[in-house]
């Protein structure tokens, strides 16, 4: 059927009419010729032809897009229906909007974490290489020597192996105060292999980054260029200072590129070997086999699989073990795919993606609740419209047309809800994107709105419409003329009590699941907040700085900190002050070092274990109030040139010196085997990462003996009173000593605990789960209330009869309550069982036990109590039914 036909169908129809008229005339004439009277002739002609209007209609239909036309009619009709009951429409649309909005927001997060692009060429062909000592965890760091071996010996599977190392450096236009930039030192062919184009100027050449100090060039990221250079189109060729070293800007990266580890987005890129002059790294340190600072990426050659690449990496790892017996004794290599939500590391506990999917599941449950409520509303409405449908069906409307009409109405509702929901979802995803991650580092999570999200939302809306609409539609379409007439117009859809009760049971159960999960997360948060940390976070102010960023060399940085501590300690209001490299739960520098302990044999199959440590000044333990268990604190005498010393944690003593005689024992860090450390003290355990695991071994070494390459430090000050008030004075002091030195991450130790590694993740998860739990609760209560109210209204005359026959108010209350309690009770029990199963899937995310009795008991009681209340209102209404009035109706 052609469109032309469709558009000219009116004209066509007139022509058919004339044709049929001609036929009739001919037949009439023939009949007259056969001797009939004119009237009889015409009558016979009509009888023989059939109804001309029907014939024309049939041809008209052949010329139309029937379904499209009907659809238009259905939509118009549906709109009219909804306009006639604005209250119903508003409630249904708002309910669906909530459900769809939650899903849109959560999906935008999942999309941002799992499905959005890294904006590099063929991103599934780029891999990151990881290594591990047998039995230990995969880790991403490599030494320069290892990079060179990998680069040279994998050319049959990789078209390139590249490396990068992160840094934090002060970047300034000449004369200005530098700001701290998150930098990335990359091998010259990095961008070629990763597959990024410049937005302005050029990226690096393959030869750059080989010779230390030879290539003073810098490439800026697009956002950094926009923010700090105001998008200056003439930026290429400009001179900047990086940690005091003059450099030339040669290019700006592609607009969308955010780095290969999207969590952290480097702001300025430099050739790898420039790390030597810029960060004052001695050449020997730069090339040291134990200095593992590089992350390695490789691009698969065409038609090479990841399995083939891993096989080659295995061969290379064996070669490495032979070539570098000390550094790479039992090394294993493997490759890992890149994806957006993966932050640094290959940690299998890094469950961001799973968490996001889990929340999508919870959001789905909220949507289910919303759908059930709207379906219930529609069912009630269906009873009202029963007569309309029966009449339409009696007038010859096909069952399929009625179903389609009902579905059109539901989908229209869902789409209106969808539009509102997408608006809500946009707002929600904006809130999610703007969560303050508690760090000044350029962390980038973009949960924006793209066509993935739009397609998802529309799909959700349409599905919701179908789910919501199918039950009432089918029920109506089954409506039977005789039954309706027999029931005296009371309708048959009202007969579906069982089904409606089941829906509400599902609602109560889902609400139960949502609330229990929310409860488990909330309890985990509070338990973590009150966890024994091993230090006292009250009244401590922290601020981070790196004199290296303004060109200080290491001895000068050491002297700077020495003087800074002297000045701060003398200030009024300061109890104690210290510096440390690592702040508990911080995101910077949580590495450790493999250690060798005299007399300690690692279990078979495992090589030397990595132990985390902190670089501290004197008074650290009194500032954080970590009690010493044995021995002494570091003193002024623990300096360069004196014997190297360490303070170890009790957990470390337990592991390496189980007889408790740690003081005076020696161990070495594998990065510095020339300087064995003597244990001079034992400190109580303190939590540096996580709230759940047993305390891992930990040790401390004095900054004064390890200042080389460690100029990034945090000043920690214990104050007499409110620590926040001290911040301006302290910053002024630093500014007096080094006017250009940027100071960042100024916060109290208590605030510092709210990082993604600390409490922040719990907080976000608990808040999200709490929101969904609340939504679920509200929707379920509305469901219970709505259904019981409806039941009461349907049974009014029955109740009237009972009361007239002598039933007491209490009996009526009991009848209604009994029905309500059955629904709620079954829902509660089913919900309990389901959440018990689900919670055990979560055990790695929560601190409390997945079968935490307090949560289960609390939530069950609360939900039961609220449900009782929801039953009470309709039950009360039933109780006060006036028998006479009810009977008269």
């Amino acid at each position: 059927m052609s469109l032309r036909r469709y558009l000219r169908r009116r004209e066509w129809d007139e022509e058919r009419a004339r044709e049929l008229e001609a036929h009739l005339e001919q037949e009439t004439a023939d009949n007259i010729a056969r001797g009939m009277t004119p009237d009889e002739a015409r009558r016979r002609a009509y009888m023989k032809l059939g109804n001309p209007t029907m014939i024309r209609e049939e041809i008209w239909k052949m010329n139309s897009f029937v379904s499209v036309e009907d659809l238009g009619r259905d939509v118009r009709y549906a709109f009219r229906q909804l306009r006639q009951s604005p209250g119903f429409a508003a409630i249904a649309i708002a309910t669906l909007a909530l459900g769809i909005g939650v899903n849109t927001a959560i999906f935008s997060m999942v999309n941002g974490l799992l499905f959005s692009s890294l904006h590099i060429r063929q991103e599934n062909r780029v891999l990151e290489i990881g290594s591990r000592q047998k039995g230990a965890q995969w880790q991403p760091q490599f030494s320069l020597a290892e990079y060179e071996v990998l680069h040279g010996q994998t050319s049959q599977v990789f078209s390139g192996v590249v490396g990068d190392a992160y840094g934090l450096d002060g970047l300034s236009m000449e004369g200005n105060k530098p700001d701290r930039a998150f930098t990335d030192y990359v091998t010259g062919d990095f961008f070629d292999v990763v597959g990024v184009e410049p937005y302005l100027g050029r990226l690096f050449h393959a030869g750059e980054g080989v010779t230390p100090g030879a290539d003073p060039v810098v490439v800026l990221s697009y956002p950094y260029w926009k923010q700090h250079f105001a998008g200056d189109p003439n930026v290429v060729g400009k001179h900047v200072l990086l940690d005091g070293q003059p450099m030339t800007v040669v290019g700006v990266l592609a607009q969308d590129y955010r780095g290969v580890n999207t969590a952290f987005c480097p702001q300025a890129y430099l050739p790898l070997a420039m790390i030597v002059p810029i960060e004052n790294t001695p050449l020997s340190e730069y090339r040291k086999p134990t200095n593992r600072n590089l992350r390695l990426y490789a691009r698969l050659k065409p038609r090479v699989t990841k399995q083939q690449a891993n096989a080659t990496l295995e061969v290379v790892s064996r070669r490495l073990a032979v070539e570098q017996p000390v550094a790479d004794k039992d090394v294993e290599l493997s490759s890992f795919g890149l994806w957006v939500g993966r932050n640094a590391g290959f940690d299998p506990d890094n469950a961001i993606g799973e968490v996001a999917l889990f929340f999508l599941g919870l959001a789905g449950m909220v949507l289910l609740l919303a759908c059930v409520n709207v379906a219930n509303l529609l069912l009630v409405r269906a009873t009202v419209r029963e007569r309309e449908m029966v009449i339409r069906s009696a007038l010859g409307a096909a069952r399929s047309r009625l179903i389609r009409q009902m579905l059109t109405e539901s989908i229209l509702l869902a789409l209106c809800g969808g539009v509102a929901g997408i608006g809500l979802g946009l707002w929600g995803s904006h809130l999610l994107s703007s969560i303050n991650l508690g760090t000044d580092l350029p962390v980038h999570f973009y949960f924006g709105f793209d066509w993935h999200v739009l397609a998802f939302s529309i799909a959700v809306a349409v599905t919701a419409g179908l789910v919501v609409g199918i039950v009432p539609a089918l029920r109506l379409a089954r409506a039977n003329l005789n039954m309706v007439l027999r029931e005296g117009g009371r309708g048959v859809a009202g007969g579906g009590h069982k089904f409606r009760d089941a829906l509400v049971t599902v609602q109560v159960g889902s609400a139960m699941i949502l609330l229990i999960i929310a409860g488990l997360f909330m309890r985990s948060l509070t338990q973590s907040e009150h966890a024994e940390l091993g230090f006292n976070p009250a009244n401590v102010l922290t601020m981070m700085m790196d004199p290296g960023e303004i060109g200080y060399n290491d001895p000068r940085a050491r002297d700077f900190y020495k003087e800074l501590l002297q000045r701060v300690r003398a200030m009024p209001g300061v109890k104690t002050a210290t510096i440390a490299q690592i702040v508990p739960m911080g995101v910077v520098g949580n590495g450790g070092d493999a250690i060798t302990v005299g007399g300690y044999q690692p279990p078979p199959g495992q090589s030397a274990t990595v132990v985390a440590y902190n670089l501290i000044a004197t008074d650290y333990f009194s500032t954080l109030q970590i009690p010493m268990a044995q021995g002494r604190d570091f003193g002024a005498g623990d300096e360069e040139g004196r014997p190297y010393v360490a303070i170890v944690s009790e957990a470390m003593v337990k592991k390496y010196w189980p007889h408790g005689d740690a003081i005076g024992r020696m161990f070495t860090m594998n990065s510095d085997p020339a300087h064995p450390l003597e244990v001079v003290g034992v400190a109580r355990d303190a939590r540096y990462q996580g709230f759940r695991q047993a305390m891992p071994p930990y040790f401390y070494v004095p900054f004064a003996q390890h200042y080389t390459g460690n100029s990034l430090e945090t000043l920690e000050v214990r104050t007499e009173a409110d620590p926040g008030g001290m911040a301006p004075v302290l910053e002024r002091t630093i500014n007096d000593m080094a006017p250009n030195l940027p100071v960042f991450d100024v916060k109290t130790l208590h605030q510092a605990l709210y990082t993604p590694n600390g409490l922040l993740l719990f907080q976000i998860i608990a808040t999200l789960a709490g929101i969904m739990g609340t939504l679920g609760l509200v929707l379920a209560i509305v469901g219970v209330y709505g259904v019981l109210s409806y039941v009461v209204s349907q049974r009014t005359s029955e109740i009237g009869v009972r009361m007239a026959l002598g039933a007491q108010r209490g009996d009526i209350l009991r009848i209604v309550y009994k029905q309500g309690m059955w629904i709620v009770g079954i829902g509660l029990v089913a919900g309990l069982a389901a959440s018990f199963g689900l919670a055990h899937l979560l055990h790695s995310l929560i601190v409390v036990s997945p079968s935490d009795p307090a949560t289960y008991l609390g939530v069950s009681l609360a939900l039961a109590a609220i449900a009782m209340l929801a039953c009470y209102v309709p039950a009360r209404r039933a109780m006060y039914v006036e028998p006479m009035k009810a009977l008269r109706e």
Partner: protein, 116 residues
């Protein structure tokens, strides 16, 4: 489902009869209806009305074309004419029909023998 197939078969038959009629030359709807009735010795009584949707369908498939002209008793009438495609279609249909009839005949013949 079954009834729909049946309907399709009947429609196909009507189409074939119309095309067959037009083989003798252009004709208008009234003539076609009478020719079909007479040539089949009034065995196939068609409701004349169903002819017009069928004609419309055939024209839609470009098996027939139509024009306004004057009928034998000088009335204005719409004439239908077989197109080349219609001719091909008729040949194919006729062939298909004949082979089907033969097949049915064979089956019935066998059945007859078995029954004897």
């Amino acid at each position: 489902m079954g009834s729909k197939k049946e309907q399709e078969l009947l429609l196909g038959t009507l189409d074939m009869l119309i095309l067959q009629t037009l083989l003798m030359g252009p004709a208008h709807g009234h003539t076609i209806a009478h020719v079909i009735e007479h040539t089949s010795d009034d065995v196939l009584q068609i409701e004349q009305g169903s002819l017009y949707p069928a004609l419309h369908r055939l024209e839609d498939r470009e098996w027939v074309s139509s024009y306004w002209g004057a009928s034998e008793n000088n009335r204005k009438a719409r004439f239908y004419k077989l197109t080349a495609a219609g001719r091909r279609q008729l040949r194919a249909e006729t062939h298909r029909w004949k082979s089907m009839v033969e097949a049915i005949g064979r089956v019935l013949g066998n059945a007859g023998r078995v029954l004897e």
